[in-house]
């Protein structure tokens, strides 16, 4: 099958999933009675008498499908409701908080992947020797660590013990003023990138200082995961015939491991990028909460705790759509990277 028709087929297959996701999200809101949902439009106790009128006006007691139709029309035009926490529409809130989270992700994602690949393939190359056992214990440990607890401990040491060395938050007050001044052009709202584009050293340093602990917190658990995956993938690769061939023709072990085994072992690791997205999305909520880092995860947490249903469901929907998209891209990449994958056959 040709690549283009494969992509088209995959896109068509996405439709029922996305439809299901929206029905599910909408179904959750329908757990509330029309009166409860109407009260979301009410801002003062005086208006409570108007509830029946509101229910009537927004059709909140119409049949499920009718209401779903209205709702999905709104969602498709970008209206996900109003976020009380952010005091702006949910859609705007997502874009408002996303850049801060991207600041974290652009450091965490490469760090997780590179460290995981390096540690995993090293462990495999030393299978059953002390280095392998050591990394294995570290991995199991890292993966059992409660992320939130790790964050608190790091803060206790690097913020408490070392007198404010690595503070929580996103920027210090002075740098926040610089960033919001007229001289500082916000190209992307991602502070690291903006600081570089503005050639502003102090802002860059301050940003990095605030990023170190959250990035570590976000990475540890996932490094452990990628590392274990890379190890078993590498072990499989090392047992293949082409490795024997490479060794037989007298290549140095270093070349065998780096060139022949590791490259082939990378394929399954690339396919977990989808997993990595989900792990980061989950991790960001906890990490940003601990470090009071006002990104999208912090906003989601605030919304959940303050029972801001429109925000939390909008956020969940946004994540689901992204996650589905990421998985699609990964699958397509996979077919490009590994020529053995025949399109459209192994869909089982």
């Amino acid at each position: 099958m040709e690549l283009r028709s494969y992509i088209i087929r995959r896109l068509v297959l996405l439709i029922p999933v996305l439809f299901g996701v929206t029905v599910f999200i909408f179904g959750i809101t329908m757990l509330f009675s029309p009166g409860q949902r109407a009260s979301l439009y009410v801002t003062s106790p005086r208006q409570l008498a108007d509830l029946p009128a509101i229910i009537e006006r927004y059709g909140l007691d119409e049949p499920f499908l009718t209401q779903y139709g209205t709702w999905i029309g709104q969602v498709l035009s970008g209206n996900l409701g109003w976020s009380n926490v952010a005091s702006m529409p949910v859609w705007d809130a997502i874009w408002h908080y996303l850049p801060a989270t991207l600041d974290l992700a652009i450091f965490a994602a490469p760090l997780i992947i590179l460290t995981g690949i390096f540690l995993g393939s090293t462990a495999a190359a030393h299978k059953d020797r002390p280095l392998d056992h050591g990394t294995r214990v570290v991995a199991i440990f890292g993966w059992s660590l409660p992320t939130f607890w790790l964050g608190l401990l790091l803060m206790m040491v690097f913020y408490g013990y070392f007198r404010g060395f690595l503070p929580p938050g996103r920027l210090s007050i002075q740098m926040d003023m610089v960033v919001n001044s007229a001289d500082f052009i916000r190209y992307t709202h991602i502070n690291t990138i903006d600081a570089i584009l503005n050639l502003n050293g102090p802002v860059l340093l301050d940003t990095l200082r605030h990023l170190i602990l959250p990035v570590i917190t976000l990475s540890v658990v996932n490094v452990a995961f990628i590392m274990r995956l890379m190890r078993s993938s590498m072990l499989e690769s090392l047992g293949k015939g082409y490795i024997l061939t490479a060794r037989a023709k007298g290549l140095p072990e270093r070349v065998v491991v780096n060139k022949h085994a590791r490259r082939n072992a990378l394929i399954p690791v690339i396919t977990v990028s989808g997993y990595l997205f989900a792990a980061l999305a989950n991790g960001v909520v906890i990490t940003e909460t601990i470090f009071n880092y006002k990104g999208i995860g912090w906003w989601a947490w605030q919304s959940a705790v303050r029972l801001d249903i429109a925000s939390i469901l909008g956020f969940a929907l946004f994540n689901a759509v992204l996650f589905v998209g990421v998985n699609l891209v990964v699958d397509i990449l996979y077919t490009r990277i590994d020529p053995r994958v025949r399109l459209g056959e192994a869909v089982q």
């Binding site: 409660p146 939130f148 959940a304 469901l313």
Partner: protein, 295 residues
């Protein structure tokens, strides 16, 4: 059942899994003996509510009366972690029980019958798996109202699809075996074939692996509790105890680590509990994976 004996011997001989077993056994004892280890104040006191010694916010260091100290609001940390062990087992066992029951039913229906039934069930799992798990769990908890029960429901809702898929795969593998064909030929009903022949031959490894996920489930539950979406205030729960320490990360000038106990102790309990299950799970995976074990 020499398979089981062999497996048990492998687990005990491997120092890592042996450590895992010991950790889990210790926690099981703490949970069972909780009323003796940390006796509740008596009367009609719900033993899962941590007794408080006053209402001052500032945590108090370990003393004779409170051997692990008290956390914010004078909740006794020792009492909290001991009874929290019970909460942890309860959450883990309840969630894994629900998830496996749903997973076995839907997974075997999908795997055994195939066709439309399979297609429908698998598309439903796709929908649930389209969400990052913790985010969906958070959304569910905040909609049905924060409580420990909601946390369990939410974790069950987000975890069943993976188990249904695993079990479906197991059933698919044995579906065409001769003994299945034979019992069908003898006129056994589909239900009987699934329950008596397909399941026992297909899913034991999956069941064992799944039950070791208790650690991961308790970890997620602790995270939700930490975020303030779990147990009500004062309930013996490790995640909540950790969140009480959030305001006491940094001590007064000159003694920055003053409140270390409030942060460290509940977290250590979570870490070791999860570690125990993961150590066991990791060893198990090696034993069950013929590709790795034979080398």
């Amino acid at each position: 059942m020499s398979d089981w004996k062999f497996m048990a011997r492998q687990l005990v001989r491997n120092p890592l899994s042996l450590m895992g077993i010991i950790i889990i056994v210790v926690f099981a004892f703490i949970a069972i003996l909780a009323p003796l280890v940390a006796p509740p104040p008596g009367g009609h006191w719900n033993p899962y509510l941590i007794p408080r010694d006053g209402y001052s916010a500032t945590p108090q260091p370990p003393s004779e009366e409170h051997i692990f100290g008290t956390t914010q609001g004078q909740y006794d940390i020792f009492y909290g972690v001991v009874w929290g062990t019970r909460s942890a087992f309860r959450v883990g066992l309840v969630v894994i029980g629900i998830v496996l029951a749903v997973g076995i039913i839907l997974g075997s229906l999908a795997g055994y019958f195939g066709g439309v039934i399979d297609e429908v069930i698998m598309r439903i799992t796709d929908i649930f798996l389209a969400f990052p798990a913790l985010i969906l769990a958070m959304a569910i908890v905040s909609v049905i109202g924060p409580s420990l029960r909601s946390v369990m429901i939410a974790l069950a809702v987000v975890s069943w699809p993976s188990y249904a898929r695993l079990i479906r795969g197991d059933i698919l593998q044995v579906r065409e075996e001769d003994y299945i064909e034979a019992s069908r030929g003898l006129g056994a009903s589909s239900g009987r074939v699934i329950i008596r022949h397909a399941l026992p031959n297909a899913i034991y490894p999956t069941l064992v692996m799944a039950s070791l996920d208790i650690g991961a489930i308790v970890l997620s539950a602790a995270a939700l509790s930490f975020l303030g979406l779990g147990a009500p205030e004062g309930y013996a729960d490790w995640g909540q105890l950790t969140s009480f320490a959030r305001n006491w990360i940094v001590g007064p000038p000159g003694d920055p680590l003053k409140y270390w106990y409030a942060v460290t102790i509940p977290g250590l309990f979570i870490l070791f509990f999860v570690l125990g299950w993961n150590l066991l799970g990791d060893a198990f995976r090696d034993i069950l994976d013929p590709k790795l074990a034979r080398r």
